[in-house]
Amino acid sequence: MNSNIAIEMRGITKRFGKVVANDSIDLIIKKGEILSLLGENGSGKTTLMNMLAGIYQPDEGQIFAEGEPLTIRSPKDAYECGIGMIHQHYKLVDVFTAAQNIVLGLKDEKLDLKTINSKVKEICDRYSFIIDPSMKIYDMSVSQKQTVEIVKVLYRGADILILDEPTAVLTPQETEKLFTVLRNMRADGKAIVIITHKLNEVMAISDEVAVLRKGKYIGTVKTCETSPQALTDMMVGHAVTLNIDRPKYDSQFPRLKVEGLTCVDDEGITKLDGVTFTAKGGEILGVAGIAGSGQKELLESITGLYPIKQGTVDFVTDEGKEKNLVGLTPMQIRKTGVGMAFVPEDRLGMGLVGSMGMTGNMMLRSWKKGKGVFLNRKSPEELAKKVWDELEVVTPSTSFPVRRLSGGNVQKVLVGREIASLPKILMTAYPVRGLDINTSYAIYNLLTEQKMNGVSVIFVGEDLDVLLELCDRILVLCGGKVSGIVDARTATKEEIGFMMTTVGGKEAADVQ
């Protein structure tokens, strides 16, 4: 059995400042097997694998291959040890061709296109991919780029492949193709690690599952000997009996009407395609979909941050009048008296000013207020104190840079501020990503509280369990289109899962 071990990690610890990302982790990766590295967002999966790939170096602990200690100081060292990692954000040079990217960094490679092409072709044939070596990366689709990444790793003879959430951006067909490839590679004797938090994929592809939780190693189990429920228990620490309180708000009324919303990005790719729905005051409307299905664009186009190509977005006032929001800037929207709050996915890059304290961040909503050129610091300061108290934000002071707060506290500052603006519509994107259970519940409660105040809450989430227990209705996006809107109280996970991958969902699935 021992000779079967490709890599062994022992007692690995990695800190970023005060945050312990990995806490004394042991992990064994075996040849000819697919290992799923499972854990919630922020559980330290990527960090751990980055240490194998030479991106980070462990603060403590040691890595072994064949019983010998390994030092992986750089990605180069990693390649020399036969370790190749496909990062979530592809490491490709945009202006290079596929072939140029593939040979990047190789030592003894002659830059001879013919040899490279034939070698690439050989790899492609072996595992059944298709790529055009002379195509520039900036002309490629996401899955083509991923293919280049995989070929790149195989080209340098990697025996240990690490894939960081490879399916997040893929269509179901593409995912299935990828899995076929992975199985072929396993048959070839390669050791494969997939970082993921999707249980269905874990069950479908892996031989073993290693689970991390909050930077700690929980354990490894054989896939055939476990169940999704058991894995979830390991991931979150207890069985998911979320028991989110879901009261019903009686007098729901239409608050936001979106019709035929279509958005196109800089490169001409359609991100949203004729999205139509109505969000009601007094409900939580969940938005589900695999990553990159247009969630970001949906929220940003409603708030005036993303250009709208076609369609209408109407805000319904308390008096029942409709106000068209298309073409307005966020500032104009705010000035017309449309109370809209938005908790974006990228908290520090979009929702907050990392270098400022809580007070400075409270000002982000109110800095324009008041006459004259000077800032009003007093009321933001009071608000900051209020949020600090009420949401139990852990920070030394209201002027302590929020960048240096922990993820949960950052989110509390952001949500606290947005709720304080007394919105009519509250939009949140992945508000509990990376947060611990307690903070997550605190956020759920806040959202429900808003709902019960008659606010229309739009909740973009990734965890279907949460969506099903928290929301009143769920809108499912698939490739920029509305796949369907279901009642969260009656819908099932499977149903939504189908809709996420196939427009039309159940009906389409029934046909199959």
Partner: protein, 366 residues
């Protein structure tokens, strides 16, 4: 476990979260001390006593009231221009076109000085020149900002090019429309009514820049504009999210920055040179960038650093006459000083983690 630590690299880097402010200042002052020691090298190589050389520099810069005045005269545009650059850099807009914006302001001021000196009273003339210079400098700063806002044109390279365009225009004015004695390539000296009044022996530009220091401090820290600039500097996305019109704020800030540079151009032509020529900015636009950066964009720290550079510049001039050392030694010493001060920030922002000695694991930081 001891065998396992063998392969840990000897030293590696990590970002530092925070540092005791006292330690920060100690490092910065230490770097200046090191720079002064390194600055002795060229003097040593040329066979001079470095201590004597520094004594001459200090006495040449501060040894007589008139020398102090001259030193302050050198510091005025450096300080003023650093103030102008601060908001741009805070916004992460790399304006290295201060040189050109100074020149643009100087041209506008000179136009009125040359043509209106006998038409309006002195203080009105100066006020007109001041405003004209502000607008001209502002427009010269606005142009690259416009293209940055509209098409994301690289502002570093754009502002750099703008310097040489406007300097070329002055050369043309000097030999063309504004030339004094034909063929002389010299624009006539300004009339007395177009000169800044003198206060305590120095043209009153020093009062203007000191007022600017306070205004800029207030602007950056207590106004809505200052807040917008800080947010954009942190993240443009956040600024958009908060409803800020990033392009407009960029243009506005560059107009302001260019405008202040224009004021410095006004001060330089009316206070120091009393005429316009193509070297009117004299590298101030570049040096002041380092002043602004090394001051961490703190308006008050800029006073200190600009005076320090002015002392070196003025003092080195004396060095040339006294020790027969070329005056360009000032550039060398200033260069060394800048290098050291730039380097020291590394030790403030990063920590070096050395390989633990034995099995014990500890962090050594510098």
């Amino acid at each position: 476990m001891s065998s396992e630590t063998v392969n840990i690299p000897f030293v590696r880097l990590a970002k530092r979260e925070s540092m005791d402010p006292r330690k920060v200042w100690a490092i910065r002052i230490g770097s200046i001390v090191i720079a002064i020691l390194l600055g002795m090298l060229p003097m040593f190589i040329t066979g001079n006593n470095p201590f004597k050389a520094y004594q001459i520099i200090i006495s040449g810069a501060l040894g007589k009231p008139i020398y102090i005045k001259q030193t302050i005269k050198i510091a005025i545009p450096l300080l003023g221009c650093a103030l102008a650059i601060a908001p741009c850099f805070k916004m992460r807009f790399w304006n290295i076109g201060a040189e050109g914006q100074i020149t643009a302001g100087a041209i506008a001021a000179s136009y009125f000085a040359l043509n209106w000196y006998d038409k309006v009273p002195s203080f009105v003339l100066l006020a007109i020149m001041f405003i004209a210079a502000t607008i001209a400098g502002g427009i010269w700063g606005l142009i690259p900002a416009f293209f940055k806002a509209k098409w994301n044109t690289n502002e570093t390279l754009f502002t750099l090019m703008m310097n040489y365009i406007i300097i070329g225009i002055v050369s043309w004015l000097q030999g063309g429309p504004w030339e004094g004695r034909k063929g002389s390539q010299i624009i006539p000296m300004f009339n007395d009514s177009a000169r800044l009044p003198v206060v305590f022996g120095i043209h009153c530009g020093w009062i203007i820049v000191l007022v600017l220091v306070i205004l800029m401090h207030i602007y950056m820290n207590y106004t809505k504009h200052g807040y917008e600039i800080a947010v954009i500097g942190d993240s443009e996305n956040t600024a958009r999210y908060a409803g800020m019109n990033v392009g407009r704020i960029m243009m506005r800030t560059m107009f302001l920055s260019g405008g202040i540079c224009g004021i410095i151009g006004f001060i330089v032509v009316t206070g120091a040179n009393h005429t316009l020529y193509n070297g009117v900015a004299n590298g101030v636009g570049f040096t002041s960038i380092t002043v602004a950066w090394l001051s961490q964009l703190n308006a008050f720290a800029m006073i200190l650093i600009s005076i320090m550079l002015a002392i070196l510049t003025k003092g080195s001039n004396t060095l040339q006459t006294k020790l027969k050392v070329p005056a360009s030694i000032s550039d060398i010493v200033i260069g060394i000083l800048l290098f050291c001060m730039l380097s020291c920030e590394f030790f403030i922002n990063y920590k070096l983690i050395f390989r633990p000695r034995k099995t014990e694991i500890k962090e050594a930081s510098v």
